[in-house]
């Protein structure tokens, strides 16, 4: 180990490199945005009815600056309002993610152990994802609302509806992608199916699972935001988006700023999964996605 470690550059070097790349990408995106705005305004560019001006395409510094303006006269700063909204949505999404991941994982385990169930159920699981979430959401809200669940929980269910699918599919894929000789090895130890699941199939499937968790993490945030609309929830980012939509023609920066926060929330969910993966998955470097 010592010799391997000695060859590696200091720990801070790759971190610094990553930070530099990140800054460079941010700068490039900023330049693209502002460059297009400048170009569109200078040439009075028209795409259909779309025209580049401060309403359709506000300056980035105006969007970021808006975060630190009062959200209404004598009210708290917009960033404080959005922070609270983001926390609210984060709760819905986190519960939705946990529910969806648990259900998806359980489904994957069951399907991995029975070809018959796989053939019978897989088409319906796939079909469930072809139904638009907006068609399902009102039913979920009514159904759970009438049974005394809080409204935010209905939103979590909608979020879970979006997240269980990738987890189920990848669990199934991961659990069945076991090396056949590893299975023979376990059989030679007369290992029970439960043992094989815990000692072999599950560890093998971890990279697949985390790939699914990454998709599910961002989907859970999107699901929570969309789910807030039919549930008429005002406290989350979905409510904020709906609200600022109505005032777009006067203060477009509010909506853009909300989108920024929503994106940040999705990214932080994604990063949480990445960190969990780093901790849990011990694999050859080239096998880690």
């Amino acid at each position: 180990m010592a010799t391997i470690a000695a060859k590696q550059p200091p720990v801070w070097r790759p971190a610094l490199g990553r930070a530099a790349t990140f800054a460079a990408v941010l700068a490039a995106l900023w330049a693209l945005w502002e460059g297009f705005k400048w170009f569109g305004e200078a040439t009075e560019l028209k795409i259909g009815t779309f025209q580049v001006n401060d309403t359709t395409w506000p300056h980035i510094h105006d969007i970021v600056g808006q975060l630190f303006e009062p959200s209404r006269r004598n009210g708290p700063l917009l960033i404080e309002v959005l922070w609270d909204a983001a926390l609210f949505t984060a709760k819905e999404a986190a519960v939705g993610f946990a529910l969806g991941a648990a259900i998806g994982f359980a489904l994957g385990v069951v399907l991995a152990h029975s070809r018959l169930l796989q053939r019978g159920f897989l088409p319906y699981i796939v079909a469930s994802q072809t139904i638009p979430i907006l068609a399902v959401a009102p039913m979920v809200v009514v159904w759970f609302g009438s049974r005394g669940f809080p409204d935010w929980f209905s939103v979590s269910i909608i979020s879970a509806y979006l997240t269980f699918f990738p987890v189920a599919i990848n669990t199934l894929r991961g659990l069945t992608s076991v090396d056949p000789r590893a299975l023979e090895l376990m059989r030679s130890y007369a290992a029970s199916p439960m043992r094989i699941l815990w000692k072999l199939r599950l560890p093998t499937s971890l990279p697949y699972l985390f790939a699914a968790f990454k998709i599910a993490a961002t989907a859970s945030v999107v699901g929570a935001i969309i789910g807030e609309l039919p549930a008429s929830i005002q406290d989350g980012l979905g409510g904020a988006i709906l609200n600022f939509n109505q005032y777009y023609s006067t203060t477009p920066e509010n909506l853009w700023a909300t989108n920024l926060i929503a994106a940040a929330l999705g990214i932080s969910f994604f990063l949480a999964v990445v960190i969990a993966e780093r901790i849990v998955v011990r694999r050859a470097p080239e096998h880690v996605a």
Binding site: S188, K199, P203, R282, R283, A284
Partner: protein, 274 residues
Amino acid sequence: MSVVKLARVDKAFGQGDVVALQGIDLEIGEREFISLIGPSGCGKSTLLRIIGDLIEPTGGEVVVNGKTAHRARLDRDYGIVFQDAVLFDWRTVAKNIALPLEMLGWDRGRRSERVDELVELVELTGFEGHHPWQLSGGMQQRVSIARALSFDPPLLLMDEPFGALDEMTRERLNLELLRIWEASGNTVVFVTHSISEAIFLSTRVVVMSARPGRIVGIVDVDLPQPRTAATREEPRFAELIRDVRRLLRQGGGFDVEEATPSGEEDLITAEEGL
């Protein structure tokens, strides 16, 4: 008492149209080191798996350690080593070796004691905390052997364990395997496609024919024990190689190899020039 007893063992795949093994009779005694050799597709790996109850024979009787092969597997009467080490990437060397011990419900203290012994036996001291991908192929295979020996099974099944290694590593591991075999005192059934490896390691070499796999003959290896690097230089060694090669030719092994010069037969061809 014999450790393995095969009587009229047949194996057919599919609807019985592909006959892999036909009428295999073989008795393997305690402390023997038996090699199974034959052209590719002769069913030697299949035979090994039948002994290990990983494949069921279509006919005949398999007795391992005085019981049915199935019972013997449930009693963990054998350890198995494959051509690839089949180590679990997410486990360290020590934890890979301890895998069967976990299955057997050994407690942590006993496990780590046993792992220490085995790490020493296969000369991997200092690598206990490494992960498989940090080891060379030869070292990985030694971990795999340690894992198979961990619970001290009376029988060790080895399916071309050194087939994927380079010649020098292979010869070194051959010597190590003999040392381990002498130290552990178990019976070994060893599948190989290298004639010299079979002679060097074994007490008896079982020569099999091309499909359908039958036993063409058994060569008693009367080379003195313990074998050393000098064993390969002895005239008797060359004679035994000739004997095995004659049987292989009789079983159609060389005809097959001339028609399809692929990996496995190449080795046999190469050794014909010895």
